[in-house]
Symmetry: C2
Subunit: 233 residues, 2 copies
C-alpha cells in the first residue's frame, strides 16, 4: 500500500458531476487492489445553495456552506481539498480561509493546461454565475489568452442544457445541442474549447469538435491523483 | 428543497462498488435539481485493511478503522450510516458502538427482501470472509430460509473473479464466469440468488439467471433513500 494523501472532495454541485469525477479518478488511478486507490472523502453536499440562483439574486450565498464543507473534510482527515465544480470557485477565498490544508483550484489548473497549448483565443463553456465571477476570463487574460464567450442567446441555451443535465437528461438531443454551442465558439475563433463546467463532459467529448477540448474535470482528476502521490494509469 | 437526512457512507471496500452505490442512489432518487438529491458523505476509505486478508490471518483487523470511519461521518453531519460492503458487516458491532446515529445493515435489509419472496432455499454469492462470519447463513436461517453455498472449487473461482473486478476487470469473460456460478447455485436448488457482495452487481444482472436475483446494493440503495426521506423514482 502506497502512502498517498487523503483527498477531500466538495461535491454535490451537482451530484452527477461528482459521480463523474469519482468515476474518472478510479479509471485514471493505477490500482490492482482496493488499497492502491486513493482515499477520497466526498461530501456530495446537495444542501449547498444554488450558485446560479444566488447570482440572479434569487437565493442565499453558498459561501458559508462551502467553507463549512471544506473545514469538515479537513477535520475528518482530508490532507488537501478539491471541488468538482468550476462555478463554486468564486468562493475559493472563503474556502481557503476555512482550512489549513492545500486547496487545488480547478480554474488555475485548467488554465495552465490551456496556456500550455499556446492558443490566441480559448472558448469558455461555463454557467452564468461562473462567467459573472470572471473566473476563466481573468485567469486566461493573465495567461495571455483571449477568452471567447457565447452570445447572450447561445448562453441562454447553454443554461437550459446544464439544468437538463442536472435533472438527469443526457440524451442525444442534449449532446447535439452542446456540440453546436462548442462549434459556435470555434466559429468565433476559439482554437481551444474549455469544458469549464463539470456537467459539460457528461455530454461533450473531444471527438465532437474540431479543435482541442480541455475538460476541466479531467484536469482536476489528474492533478488530484498526482498531488495525492498516486500513480496515473 | 425537501428536508432529507444526510447519509454517511462507509465505502472504498472496494471503490468500484462504492461508485456503483453512488450511481444507483442518483438514478433511483426522484430529483429535478441538485438540491432534490440526498446529501451523501462518502468515505471512500481505501486505507481500511483488507477483510479477506484478515480472515486468512494475513493482516490486521479492519474493525478499528471501520469504527473510526463511522464516527468521523457522524461528526461531520451524517444522520445515519450505511456501508456499501456486505463483508465488513462482520464488524457491525464495532461500528454501532462508535456512533449514536442509526446504522442500516445491508445484510438485514437484503435478508428481509429474500424472506418476502418466501423461498425454501436461497443461494449466496459472498466472499470468504463474509461466509466465514456466517452473516447471511445466520440471517437466512433465522428467517426460515436454507442457505445454499458454492462448493469449495467454485468458491475459489468466485474469489478470483471478485479480485479481478476489484482490479477493474469487468469484461465478458468475468461476466460469463459469474453467471455460471450463479447458475450452479440454481442447479443446487436455490430459488433466489443473493448478490451478497457489492462487487457482484458490477458483472451480474437479473437477466443472467432464471430465478430471482436479490441485489444487495439495490436493496441498500432503496432503503437508504427511504430512510433519508427522499423520493424513489
Amino acid at each position: 500500500m502506497s502512502e498517498t494523501k487523503s483527498v477531500g472532495v466538495i461535491g454535490g454541485l451537482g451530484p452527477a458531476a461528482t459521480l463523474d469525477f469519482f468515476d474518472r479518478i478510479l479509471k485514471r488511478t493505477k490500482a490492482l487492489h482496493d488499497q492502491d486507490h486513493l482515499r477520497l472523502i466526498i461530501d456530495n453536499n446537495t444542501k449547498i445553495p444554488d450558485r446560479n440562483a444566488y447570482q440572479r439574486g434569487d437565493g442565499p450565498s453558498p459561501g458559508p456552506a462551502l467553507a463549512a464543507a471544506a473545514h469538515a473534510l479537513e477535520t475528518v482527515g482530508a490532507e488537501f481539498i478539491v471541488m468538482a465544480c468550476n462555478t463554486a470557485h468564486a468562493w475559493e477565498a472563503d474556502i481557503r480561509a476555512a482550512i489549513s490544508v492545500p486547496f487545488i483550484s480547478i480554474i488555475e489548473e485548467t488554465t495552465k493546461v490551456v496556456a500550455d497549448l499556446k492558443p490566441e483565443r480559448a472558448g469558455v463553456l461555463a454557467v452564468d454565475a461562473c462567467l459573472a465571477s470572471s473566473l476563466y476570463q481573468d485567469a486566461l487574460k493573465k495567461a495571455g489568452v483571449a477568452p471567447v464567450l457565447l452570445n447572450a442567446d447561445s448562453q441562454r441555451t447553454f443554461m437550459e442544457l446544464i439544468y437538463r443535465i442536472k435533472s438527469g437528461d443526457t440524451r442525444d438531443m442534449v449532446r447535439r445541442s452542446m456540440t453546436t454551442l462548442a462549434r459556435k465558439l470555434e466559429a468565433q475563433g476559439a482554437e481551444v474549447i474549455i469544458a469549464g463546467c463539470t456537467e459539460v463532459p457528461l455530454v461533450l467529448t473531444a471527438d465532437d469538435i474540431d479543435n482541442e477540448l480541455v475538460n476541466s474535470t479531467d484536469v482536476l482528476v489528474e492533478r488530484t491523483i498526482c498531488f495525492a502521490g498516486g500513480e496515473l494509469k
